[in-house]
Symmetry: C2
Subunit: 337 residues, 2 copies
Amino acid sequence: MKASIRDVAKLANVSISTVSRVLNAPELVVKEKREKVLAAIAQLNYSPNALARGLIHRRTQTLGVLSPNISNLFYSEVLAGMEGAAHEAGYNLMICNTDNNAQKKHAILKVLNEKQIDGLILTSEPVLPDDYEVLSKFTFPVVLAATHSPDYEIASVKVDDEKAAYDAAAYLISRGHRRIGMISGSIDDPISGGPRIRGFLRALNDHGIESDPKKCIEYGSPQFEHSYQAMKALHAKFPDMTAVFATSDERALAAISYLHEHRIRVPEEISVIGFDNTRMAGMCFPKLTTVAQPLFDIGYLSVVKLLRLIRGEPVHDLRTVVPHSIVERDSVISVKP
Amino acid sequence: MKASIRDVAKLANVSISTVSRVLNAPELVVKEKREKVLAAIAQLNYSPNALARGLIHRRTQTLGVLSPNISNLFYSEVLAGMEGAAHEAGYNLMICNTDNNAQKKHAILKVLNEKQIDGLILTSEPVLPDDYEVLSKFTFPVVLAATHSPDYEIASVKVDDEKAAYDAAAYLISRGHRRIGMISGSIDDPISGGPRIRGFLRALNDHGIESDPKKCIEYGSPQFEHSYQAMKALHAKFPDMTAVFATSDERALAAISYLHEHRIRVPEEISVIGFDNTRMAGMCFPKLTTVAQPLFDIGYLSVVKLLRLIRGEPVHDLRTVVPHSIVERDSVISVKP
DNA sequence: CTGCATATTGAAAAGCTTTTCAACCTTTGC
DNA sequence: GCAAAGGTTGAAAAGCTTTTCAATATGCAG
């Protein structure tokens, strides 16, 4: 049986108020009693019960985190950033996998709400009307990490996808490439779809490159196998391209895998630029040139922002835009225009 | 202000006991009142408070998980398995990063204990006497995932590292290799050090291959950069080896990276076998032949085991050994003996 | 019609802590 | 020597729910 504050009080021969004070405001208790209490605590191996504490303070020092897939390098780096910020601030994270399953997601939200989390972070997945209806009934604040909600006023932390894609394409163009393909998320994916496609096409256009989206873009889900097939299709319809913009590192790796297997050298024959700069990018061959997102920071800043909202502190920008950059490694080569 | 059970009771004009029953044993309440209560719940958007519930039941349906680094593919796949099993059983996971920092670890354990977790899972890190002293004072059960404690009686779920390393070496030998190097964890690492070194050497010995550990083994921490250096050192002292056994996929990738950069072809000139079979193994070039650990299952089974311990059900084996296997891809080639 | 069993409900205690308020004691200042 | 101030402590309420126990009402048998 676990010792409670009453047991400590009894053993130390004081009231439970005094024990509580020894724990929370020791200077209010005279040394003699304080030491007796401390001794009793040690003897009973007493540990305060955070449930009771949370009941009174209406705070649990716990945040909820929803992620479509925690075993994904992208998310796990973001999660690591969250965990870091949370730990520094004395919070814990309840991390849940949604598997992109709306039903599971709503079930989890219900439980997290019952468990009285102080705030919630949603990663990636867009916020649908269904979701918003649930979220808006919660009394705790919500932050979106690496995603945003164009339709609703929800705090978020992410890169500027349109600009990042523009920069990726512009980078390839600056290296002399003119025939550039793209492996993208589906057109209505608000992260690695729409915005990045627009940025990509805008860059081509700005640099006077005519392009037919039907020919140079292949759409698909992010999994390696699907992306491999996408690269196959892209190569079939656009065989003379000299560079590919893949909208995630996993897609880039899949593209490279396809090319390697068909004896097309990367980057000598086809350059590949990725997106995300997950740790994998520096570990594969050839090492990936990629658009870096500050994944750890996105997680870290989401928690910082969430804590401000929890404390009721002013948050200057509802939508935080974090900087991207291009990390040059070995998968892109310059060609003569 | 959040509605409480009293508010619902007042609005529905019944006692709080009745509201509680509607939620937990609806068949005990006559239909008329039940519907009034349900209507009040909906109107007030009432959600029960799990803290109060936990206080009474002395159960929180929450498990603690400590991991040295949640952004590591290895751990994140194990974590995904845990999350899956936990979700199915109606539990949540509080996941914490220890950064291999003993002080941080103990601080976290203190908080998790206060938060009344029902059980704890420790991944990887060995259990030191210091740790054991802390753990043994907890009233909830503990399971080790992908690690074990030779010195203490703690439940665990992991592969047989000695045997797995033996099999890896035997596999290389069966492909005709005789001059085999190894990139290992430090000798006193109870996971990717000692046992795997012993298994490796035993296999060489069993197959009549003389070997000098000083020459054929290079020790080091698991990070890519360190492993890269280890490969460099190994190649310098053992230039005519035809195969390398790397004790993690990350180490294998670092080795391959070194070899690529020095124009040594993999697997044509040197074969490389990895360990873990993280998702990366199938995404790099060449695709990695590796000793597969059932990472997801290790996580899943740890939670299943932990739940049995929590429920006081019998657990037949204190130390669960899960099967490993060799996944053949493209990084190992047969040579003429 | 009485008595007993059963169905339904509510009051109150328990679970553990923090916090407010009041009480008591000791100083200090005049 | 007494009033006021300050230091220390304990009792009790509050936070929200579940559960036990008792009470009331209903139905049925004899």
